[in-house]
Point group: C2
Chain length 180, copies 2
């Protein structure tokens, strides 16, 4: 994995991929599958929707840190597996053969098998709406990450794989932030 | 267009598509392209990230209503066009040949050419983070909407079209809300 300049990290979440959120509660790491995320700004800040019904929530709230890890399409069955069991009784890294890698700024691990990982700190939790606001601290990408298809959850148990990529950079130029 | 049961409407936004947000300020309709959206819950509630720099924001804040309209992939150049001009000096419906259709519960129009439209009311604006919280009121879908590929913005001027759809309904059953 190499570092991606932080001002480009929003491009990893903007397409709306299924994401793994890793945490570390001080004793052990955990990971959950989530698809309710969005970009908030280019600095970058992100939002995710979750709440106390997820085992990872306590670690998010206490440690104020996590990693957004982005699996590629071949990892679908692990994505489903991670999303349908709980860290309360399962070591998901061991069970699904995921490799935790130490990050630079947070104790939550990166996941080696993912196409990208973003170390984040929790800057706010909007309790009224179950929204966790994150600030990206360091972004890491794997070789060829832009050619590895992401997954999108439909929410009905089906998933859509990235298809063709269309280039409209020239037409979008006036709206792209500097250096992107 | 036919009505989609409201408890299924979250499946239109969960995949992370590029969205058109229509508003009506009492004088005329407007539409903006946005990709920073997420699902908040199954009722359904949605969040979108925007702010006063968008011309549509004033109408969102004042009328407390909008429509989330989902274009399909063949509409890409209109998506880019709508996203790179402003309603302050442009009638975007006329310029891009989009057909406004009256909704049931809000004055903001549906867009006939889209694969789906969700009428929404604004339930809250979280000023600190530029997050608008929406409640879906009525969802409308076009014939064959599930076979029409959505678009995902990467944020660098490129767009990804939906590819293959993979079925994991059986494995995901424990996590699907009733009736989905």
């Amino acid at each position: 994995m190499r570092t991606l300049p932080l001002h480009k990290a929003f491009t990893l979440i903007e397409p709306g991929p299924v994401v793994w959120v890793t945490t570390h509660d001080g004793e052990r790491p955990n990971v959950m599958t989530i698809t309710w995320t969005m970009v908030l700004d280019f600095t970058p800040r992100f939002a995710l929707a979750t709440g106390p019904w997820n085992h990872s929530y306590a670690a998010l709230e206490t440690t104020r840190a996590c990693v957004l890890a982005i699996p590629d399409a071949p990892l679908l069955d692990k994505v489903v597996g991670v999303g349908t069991c709980s860290g309360s009784d399962t070591d998901k890294f061991a069970r699904f053969g995921l490799t935790p890698v130490a990050g630079r700024q947070v104790q939550a691990p990166l996941i080696k098998e993912c196409l990208a990982n973003i170390e984040c700190r929790v800057v706010d939790i909007v309790q009224a709406h179950g929204i966790v606001v994150l600030e990206g601290l360091v972004a890491h990408v794997s070789t060829g990450y832009q050619r590895r298809p992401m997954l999108h959850a439909v929410g009905d148990g089906t998933f859509v794989v990235d298809g063709e990529r269309l280039n409209r950079r020239r037409q979008m130029r006036s709206k792209l932030p500097p250096g992107v």
